[in-house]
């Protein structure tokens, strides 16, 4: 959606660590210059059942910041979400949960 600016691997030191034992993993969606903003919003609204405002906010976060956390849970749950995102043509990865967002 916009220029992809990705953080260097392993340099993220998120002080706001709010991962819980029940939800230690996160699904992160990454920006790309091809996917349409309308489509990303639609995916977030339908797959994650997000309210309109939240879906749009996270879509814009992907667009402007290059990434957004869209769900949290166990590794197995996040792998299901990541596979679903790949099915929609969005690039998502499983990441250890940090405090930011979602």
């Amino acid at each position: 959606m916009s220029t992809t600016v990705l953080p260097a691997e392993g340099t993220r030191t998120d002080a706001d660590e709010r991962a819980t034992p029940e939800r230690p993993w996160a699904t992160v969606v990454w920006n790309d210059p091809v996917n349409l903003m309308s489509y990303v919003t639609w995916v977030f609204r339908t797959y994650f059942k997000m309210p309109h405002e939240r879906a749009e906010r996270l879509m814009l976060q992907v667009h402007h910041e290059g990434r957004a956390t869209v769900s949290r849970g166990t590794l197995e749950q996040m792998e299901i979400d990541v596979q679903a995102m790949h099915g929609f043509g969005l690039w998502a990865t499983v990441e250890p949960a940090t405090g930011a967002d979602a």
Binding site: P33, H52, S71, H86, T93, E95
Partner: protein, 215 residues
């Protein structure tokens, strides 16, 4: 009215396409289908794969089947072994839905229930075309859209420029189709789709007729 735009129709949502446009789109859909089915010893393949699965060497196919981890190659590799065959088949099913709608012509008609599969297929085709054009950044994407507005170079004297121009036009046409379709899909959603679940749905994508995950 703008060309290559889905609008409400009796049968669902429909876009007018010329016969040449339909055959070009069919050709590129078939190419993406062939990519998904290539490099596999079996089709459909076993799930999960008993053996490790290497990432695709074609960057366009790798964009369709991306790594599931940026920092942990072992996680990405195991994820690929467990899911890649399913993902290829889900994407192929989406492309077959788009293919069937194109082949039924002359208009491209999509029933609302089929729209999620068609929209996903349009995404995958656009990802492949964009990768073939070398679109990696927003600036690249803007340049591709500008290229689509320009005159197409002569195929004899500038074959490479001709191919780039055709791909850029294809990308623009696919974007117009997809964006107009998705706007109709968004309009058809209830005002508030509800709260986000605390955990992931327990069904893989593609199992439901409308592409939605059920909790």
């Amino acid at each position: 009215m703008a060309p290559w735009t889905f609008r409400p129709a009796d049968e669902g949502w429909a876009a007018d396409l010329g016969p040449g446009e339909r055959s070009v789109l069919l050709e590129v859909v078939d190419e993406v289908l062939a990519m998904l089915r290539a490099q596999r010893p079996q089709w459909p393949g076993p799930t999960p794969d008993p053996d490790p699965v290497d990432p695709p060497t074609d960057p366009a196919l790798r964009r369709l089947l991306p790594d599931a981890s940026r920092g942990a190659p072992d996680v990405a590799r195991e994820f690929r072994r467990l899911t890649e065959a399913d993902l290829r088949e889900a994407k192929a099913a989406n492309l077959e839905a788009l293919r069937a709608a194109l082949a039924a012509g002359p208009r491209l008609v999509v029933a609302p229930d089929d729209a999620p599969a068609v929209a996903a297929a349009l995404t995958d085709v656009r990802l492949v075309v964009a990768e073939r054009l070398g679109v990696r950044t927003e600036e690249d994407a803007d340049a591709a859209y500008r290229l689509a507005q320009e005159a197409v170079p002569d195929a004899e004297t500038d074959p490479a420029g001709f191919v780039r121009a055709v791909l850029a036009i294809l990308l623009a046409v696919l974007a117009a189709l997809q964006d107009s379709l998705v706007e109709l899909m968004l309009d058809a959603l209830p005002d508030d789709a509800g709260e986000m679940p605390h955990h992931a749905p327990d069904e893989p994508p593609g199992d439901t007729e409308d592409g939605r995950a059920h909790r």
